[in-house]
């Protein structure tokens, strides 16, 4: 039995404890230590990616009794649905640390300890195979974020962090109660106490029970993702958080909310899902358009990206609740694509803001001449974000919209216009910041990308290009698990029936992506 996953979870915890031994004034040592630990974790984590066998279901599993008298065990493992988010956590933590290098100037030990612990919490939440363990990690990942926003955030950080925590806890405490209920239900039906996730799938409930439980789980994940209209914490938290934390929030933590739908909500309540899915897709559609429209009128670049993130997460929700192979594969793929693109945008905005001390769009303009590399990077990422064919955003969006067509035609059609809106606000943002005349003297001689900044953006850009050009790298790991997921939840039949007309040539989602390469 391999202990790789446990090591990946524990190493950052150990590293953050070790950091306490470094004197507080040795700032470079602290930063290097944190970066080194996260890179080491990533290096070990590559074993996860390359050792992963797509067809083999749950792997790297570990199981040990934790509280046996209550049926609680330490049971972890990855499958295709969780692998990508696990890898994202590992890849993006060093990026976030590198991005924090100059941004964070005080209380470094606390900050980097939070960053490392955040990674552990998120990784634990996605690999947990025991519902109780999942809940523990789910709450644990909240705490570092609470401190990161509240201590190192912007002006209204206290308000933002309190709102963030209270919102999230409302959802998760209700989910906690639902978890208890499911636990009892399983005992009543089968006579054993267990939190083992697969055992708790698709128990038989009365309609009232089913809807209340479904509602509780949905609310928790919908707040975390967030799904419109449960998003009102997002603009505050995303804007006030220090940007590397915003980066982790949008790139990974939001995905864990969406992952919760796949891992828990849908398999536990397939019947309720079947009825509710169209309505949730509708929420997703509203969120997509709402986020895009609000983004159009933002004057603060970071807030604009925050709303665009909301908009994109809404497509993911639509894709998931399309409940077919295209939708779900696309969503899981887009977990990664969105993390890279939106995450990188947040970081780029941070770089702009660091140079000028403001994030107000109107303060920029015409900086392309002075800072060509920064401009190239920004435009490249923007293209990924708006779904330019050949980059990974397109693959995900295309698959998800296909899924949405398959499930509910009108929603798919309207949602497609959202893609156009996203192009509108993003391209307008680019043109206002980078092109036109230089209207402000401060923008003369705008500093270009530094080497450190290039190292932040390059890995993201490379992954965006590679997975856009050859998405099969990722899709091949994801697809078998999605198929298994659909088989097990009983939505597989719908795929054959509904998706076929949408894509006449092939049933494999790789086909449209390969098609895209030709452009």
């Amino acid at each position: 039995m391999s202990h790789l996953l446990s090591i990946l979870i524990l190493l950052p915890v150990m590293a953050s404890l070790g950091m306490l031994l470094i004197p507080a004034d040795r700032k470079p040592v602290i930063k290097t230590w944190a970066l080194g630990a996260s890179l080491l974790n990533l290096a070990l984590g590559l074993g996860l990616w390359f050792g992963f066998k797509p067809e083999a279901g749950f792997q790297f599993a570990e199981k040990a009794d934790w509280l046996p008298s209550l049926g609680i065990s330490y049971h972890i493992g990855v499958d295709g649905l969780s692998l990508l988010i696990a890898m994202l956590t590992l890849i993006l933590t060093p990026v976030a640390i590198l991005a924090s290098w100059n941004r964070i100037q005080h209380k470094l030990r606390g900050y980097y300890a939070c960053m490392l612990l955040l990674g552990s919490g998120m990784l634990g939440a996605v690999v947990a195979r025991d519902l109780f363990l999942f809940y523990v990690f789910w709450e644990v990942m909240l705490l570092p974020m609470f401190f990161m926003i509240g201590v190192w955030g912007g002006e209204k950080r206290v308000f933002a962090t309190t709102k963030f925590v209270v919102y999230t806890l409302v959802g998760s405490l209700l989910m906690f109660l639902a978890i208890l209920y499911v636990y009892f239900k399983h005992q009543a039906l089968n006579g054993t106490w267990t939190f083992d996730i697969p055992s708790l799938y698709a128990l038989s409930y009365s309609p009232t029970e089913m809807w209340l439980l479904f509602g509780a789980f949905f609310l928790a994940f919908a707040i975390k993702t967030p799904v419109w209209p449960f998003h009102s914490w997002l603009p505050d938290a995303y804007t006030q958080a220090p940007t590397p934390a915003t980066f982790m929030l949008s790139a990974v933590m939001a995905k864990i909310g969406a992952y919760g739908f796949l891992r828990f909500l849908i398999p536990m309540f397939p019947e309720a899902t079947r009825t509710a899915a169209p309505f949730i897709m509708l929420l997703g559609m509203f969120g997509l358009l709402y986020g895009a429209w609000i983004a159009l009128v933002q004057t603060d670049a970071k807030r604009l990206i925050a709303y665009s993130s909301l908009s994109h997460m809404s497509i993911i929700v639509m894709g998931i609740f399309a409940l077919n192979q295209f939708g779900i594969t696309g969503s899981v793929f887009y977990f990664m694509a969105h993390a890279m693109a939106t995450g990188a945008l947040f970081l780029l905005v941070m770089m702009l803001a660091e140079r000028r001390g403001t994030r107000e769009i109107a303060q920029f303009g015409g900086i392309a001449k002075a800072a060509p590399w920064l401009t190239v990077a920004f435009i490249f990422i923007t293209m990924a974000s708006v779904g330019l064919p050949g980059l990974n955003g397109f693959v995900g969006e295309f698959l998800m919209l296909m899924g949405a067509y398959g499930a509910a035609n009108p929603i798919g059609v309207i949602a497609t216009t959202g893609v156009i809106w996203s192009a509108c606000y993003m391209l307008w943002l680019v043109s206002r910041i980078f092109f036109g005349e230089i209207t402000r003297p401060e923008n003369q001689g705008f500093k270009d990308l530094t080497l450190r900044e290039a190292f932040i953006i390059l890995p993201l850009a490379a992954l965006i290009a590679w997975t856009g050009f050859y998405p099969q790298t990722v899709l091949s790991k994801v697809e078998p698990s999605v198929q298994a997921f659909l088989q097990q939840t009983g939505f597989a039949a719908a795929v054959e029936a509904k998706a076929a007309p949408a894509d006449g040539e092939s049933h494999t989602p790789a086909a449209p992506a390969a098609h895209a390469d030709g452009h």
């Binding site: 509280l67 209380k107 523990v136 206290v158 208890l180 009892f184």
Partner: protein, 500 residues
């Protein structure tokens, strides 16, 4: 049942505590005057540990738990479990007071003697099997605690609060005693087992009398655990008492009151559950809301924690509602676990409050804690972990306590009550987080010169924090000292099983 030596051996922890309490003021005069405070503190600490060792040995020896002294008292696993908890609370408090009392220039001899006497009362409360011995326990404990709470003799505020405590406490004792008298009138016995037998036999024409007596007894017990609407003494006393004493009251005294309440409900009044369950459910709801809502507006951290302790009483009352005659039921052990988690947490917080307060207990407003994290990072982190434990966030003991308690409540079919509990937990998030926010996210305003001097308080805080985390996640006995969640649970289960 005749008297024999074996009975005295069984109550050895109780005897030890009483003897130490009597002995301490006698050794005080021979100690060097300037170091007396420290010596007294350490002697008390060692004495408490010795007693705990004896109690542990008894617990390991699987006590029979037979009633002794003509059915007045039983040193069963339940009583020993609580004895250990009281002793642990006392020991942690002693570490803090060793430095706190000299700083505040308070007397030492009486302090520790009173603490020992109050613990003696608590042990009687945990082991009493008759309403009469239980009443004695209440009085022994309360008398000592009244004096401890008013230990800052020169402070008007402290005097006022303790006078209030004393009057209300005496009043509630009278009500309790009146209830006991009525119960005796109806059932002809004060022994809990006898009352249960009488109830099982049907009660008959005297049932109304019994119910009246039971109602009065519940009011009396409700006062001791600070259940709303009998909670009004709590905020004043918690604020007026010296911080370590408040910590002691919030933990040991509360645990003793619950030991009393739980035993009476489980072994005495259980056959009449239909008569009291609604009352306790209503009390639980009222208590939770009162505590959580009023805690919002408290500027003083001790006052805020007083309301928080009322709220936690409400959660534990839910556990009492979920009691049942079945030995399989988890509600009893859930309350025990919860009490341990809650006690560890509050001991930690009050140790921190004692540490941060200046002489004369200045700097006890939440606003004063702005920026503590910069000045005292470890204390701030400890308070934060304790606050998370009170909210019930994993991986702390508070989370696991809430989990286990709510599980028991849902299992008994009181899902609505658990939902109200969850809503209250959500309410509580705000005021607990406010402390953390103030410590970490605001710039320092208070003048911290003159704070310090409480050496080794960090040790007490560290013990509490390690225990909180370990009792939340551990599945085995760490160093055979800190029981993790699993051993603690099985200890709680064993202890409760002696009630059946």
């Amino acid at each position: 049942m005749s008297f024999d030596l074996n009975q005295l051996v069984q109550i050895l922890p109780l005897l030890m505590v009483v003897v130490f309490g009597l002995f301490l003021p006698l050794v005080a005069p021979v100690l060097p005057a300037e170091k007396k405070g420290y010596f007294m503190g350490w002697i008390s600490f060692v004495a408490l540990l010795l007693t705990a060792g004896v109690a542990l040995a008894q617990l390991a020896g699987k006590p029979s738990g037979e009633p002794i002294f003509h059915g007045l008292f039983a040193m069963d696993t339940y009583a020993l479990f609580f004895t250990l908890l009281f002793l642990a609370c006392g020991a942690i408090t002693a570490i803090v007071t060793t430095y706190y009392l000299p700083r505040e220039q308070m007397g030492h001899e009486e302090f520790y003697a009173l603490m020992f006497f109050s613990i003696a009362g608590m042990i009687v409360l945990a082991g009493g099997t008759s309403l009469i011995s239980l009443f004695l326990g209440v009085e022994i404990m309360s008398m000592a605690v009244y004096a401890l709470a008013g230990f800052r003799r020169w402070s008007l505020r402290s005097n006022e609060s303790v006078l209030k405590y004393f009057f209300l406490g005496s009043f509630s004792s009278a009500i309790l005693l009146f209830g006991v008298a009525l119960i005796y009138g109806a059932t002809g016995t004060t022994q809990l087992a006898g009352i249960a037998d009488w109830l099982t036999a049907g009660g008959g024409a005297l049932m109304p009398l019994f119910i009246m007596g039971m109602g009065l007894a519940i009011i009396g017990m409700g006062f001791k655990v600070a259940a709303a609407p009998f909670h009004t003494w709590t905020p004043d006393v918690y604020e007026g008492a010296p911080a370590p004493v408040t910590g002691f009251m919030a933990t040991a005294v509360k645990a003793a009151s619950f030991a009393f309440f739980l035993r009476v409900m489980q072994t005495g009044f259980m056959p009449a559950k239909a008569e009291w369950v609604q009352v306790l459910a209503a009390l639980a709801v009222l208590t939770m809301f009162t505590g959580n809502i009023l805690a919002f507006v408290q500027p003083n951290i001790k006052r805020m924690l007083a309301y928080s302790s009322i709220a936690h009483t409400g959660y534990m009352l839910m556990g009492l509602v979920a009691l049942s005659p079945s030995a399989e039921n988890a509600a009893g052990s859930a309350i025990l676990y919860y009490l341990v988690a809650y006690s560890l947490t509050n001991l930690g917080i009050f140790a921190c409050i004692s540490f941060l307060s200046k002489q004369g207990e200045k700097l006890v407003n939440i606003e004063d804690y702005a920026g503590v994290a910069q000045k005292y990072p470890w204390i701030a982190l400890a308070i934060a972990i304790c606050m998370f434990s009170l909210i019930g966030l994993p991986p702390t003991a508070g989370f696991f306590g809430k989990y286990y308690l709510f599980t028991a409540v849902v299992q008994q079919g009181y899902a609505w009550l658990a939902i109200i509990g969850i809503i209250n937990s959500i309410l509580s998030v705000y005021y607990y987080l406010r402390v953390v926010v103030t410590m970490y996210m605001k710039e320092p305003t208070a003048d911290w010169t003159g704070v310090s001097g409480l050496k080794l308080t960090r040790l007490a805080v560290t013990i509490c924090v390690v225990a909180i985390l370990w009792a939340g996640i551990g599945s085995f006995n760490l160093l055979a000292v800190f029981p993790g969640a699993e051993p603690l649970l099985s200890a709680a289960r064993d202890s409760v099983s002696s009630l059946f």
